[in-house]
């Protein structure tokens, strides 16, 4: 992450080289799939070790409805977690930006949250909120989201340029006006960078939380149950669904970020 501006991956902004940015990865992917298929067939690798891409594709097309339902269930948990976690992270950062003492107080908590594997909380939360509820998963996703959003937002809130601060003082702007006119808009690109990082985390956390219990129906549960019943190709099919879901979240967050930072290149 650069120190002066919020970051969007360079490649996402690169123009003109459509071949390199689109075609090349597709060709690489296709080559790897072909290699994978050839290796499994050629060496006679058992299906329970690695199924072939064609087997997996067969399961994907045969269970499309179930994969979509699972994605919707896991996706909803991730989305609820993302929204709640983002709100908590952003509001917390605003409070910490205004009152430095709050930042000092919560810093150890944020550090603890950052290093703790959040999904480890899942079994405890299932006991607290009931194993038949999605609440535990949403909380896991939310907690995973809070830290990157909080840290990035707080960083952004501290990027107000001295000339803008002078300007607000010249205009005798109130603290609230200053927040709305300068501080929050300055932080916005950083908030979106945090959300982009958090979007993938939300999906991963919501999905992994399913491994530890709770109601069936989500992608995570489907992956474990397919694997438990030795239907490995189907398990991989759900993994494929999880990848697509993660990409959807990431790309949506990236699109929002790019839209809101389109005029930020120079002051």
């Amino acid at each position: 992450m650069s120190t002066t501006t919020a970051t969007i991956p360079e490649r996402a902004l690169a123009r003109g080289s459509a071949y390199r940015t689109i075609l090349a990865p597709i060709l690489l992917g296709a080559a790897m799939l072909a290699l994978w298929q050839g290796a499994v067939d050629g060496f006679g690798i058992e299906q329970y070790i690695v199924p072939t891409p064609s087997d997996i594709w067969h399961e994907i097309s045969g269970n499309a409805g179930s994969i979509v339902d699972g994605s919707a269930s896991t996706g909803l948990n991730a989305l609820v977690g993302l929204v709640v976690g983002a709100l908590v992270g952003i509001l917390g950062a605003i409070v910490a930006g205004v009152w430095r003492i709050f930042d000092t107080i919560v810093a150890p908590l944020v550090a603890a949250l950052a290093v703790m594997p959040i999904v480890a909380l899942a079994p405890v939360l299932y006991t607290m909120y009931g194993a038949d509820k999605e609440t535990a998963r949403q909380i896991v996703a939310a907690v995973a989201v809070i830290v990157p959003v909080y840290i990035n937002t707080l960083r952004g809130l501290r990027q107000v340029r001295p000339v803008h601060r002078d300007l607000m003082r010249v205009y005798a702007a109130s603290a609230r006006q200053q927040q709305l006119a300068v501080t929050l808009p300055t932080a916005a690109p950083y908030v979106f960078t945090g959300l982009r990082v958090a979007s993938s985390l939300a999906v991963i956390s919501a999905l992994i939380a399913e491994y530890f219990g709770g109601p069936i129906g989500g992608l995570g549960k489907s992956i474990t149950s397919s694997a438990a019943s030795s239907n490995y190709a189907l398990a991989w099919a759900y993994v494929f669904g999880a990848i697509v879901l993660g990409l959807v979240f990431y790309c949506a967050a990236l699109a929002v970020e790019m839209f809101f930072t389109r005029h930020r290149s120079t002051p």
Partner: protein, 270 residues
Amino acid sequence: MTSSQAVQVSGVSRTFGGRKGASVTALESVDLTVAPGEFVSLIGPSGCGKSTLLRLIADLDTPTSGELSVFGKPARQARVDQDYGIAFQQAGLLPWKTVTGNIELPLALHGAGRSERKGRVKELLELIGLADFAGHYPDQLSGGMQQRVAIARALAESPKLLLMDEPFGALDEMTRERMQNELVRICAETQAAVVFVTHSIPEAVFLSDRVVVMSPRPGRITDVIDVSLGGPAERDDSLREDEAFFRAVAKVREALHGVPVTGARGVDSR
């Protein structure tokens, strides 16, 4: 202290406390008066305290000692009352707002109505010659255009005093001269007094009624030179090649360097 003066500075000093007791005297007993409608430039080498003096007048900083008033009020009151407009070396536009949004920022902050803002922005856009760029964002404008928007923003509330801290410092020479011509015209139209910080001698001479020469360590005023090369109508590009202009440039240069400039050699426009 008379309330008729735009700016009245008497015996103002500003000392910045350094670490371990070491302190820097940025300004030492400075006296300066700026009359309404007068254009005064502050010129001097880096560290002479010219920007500090401007920031004191703007109440972005407070003097260690001395008296400072703007239109007869304490600087703080003048700031709260929005008696002056200000432009910095960096245009300092809000990149997420359009040209219109940037110009009307002070009006919006002070609760001006939508239609009032719209009318004022239109006038100002005409004044700075950017009527076609109302909906553009700062990153779509050149440096000179950005600076013109910043000047329009400073003029938004029709202040009777304009404070400018090297507003053209980051511009190339051609743009700079064009901006100077425009500033002369804008000042004539708005009748505002101007305190203008610069380190370009020709710029100070071209624009000013009086040039205040400052020297560093400690920052103080060493000379005040009356320039008054005529009204705004006479201040055009031909003035830049005028004998009187060169003489005034030479005079300011002598005051800056503290030695008389000899013969024709010392006279050039830079």
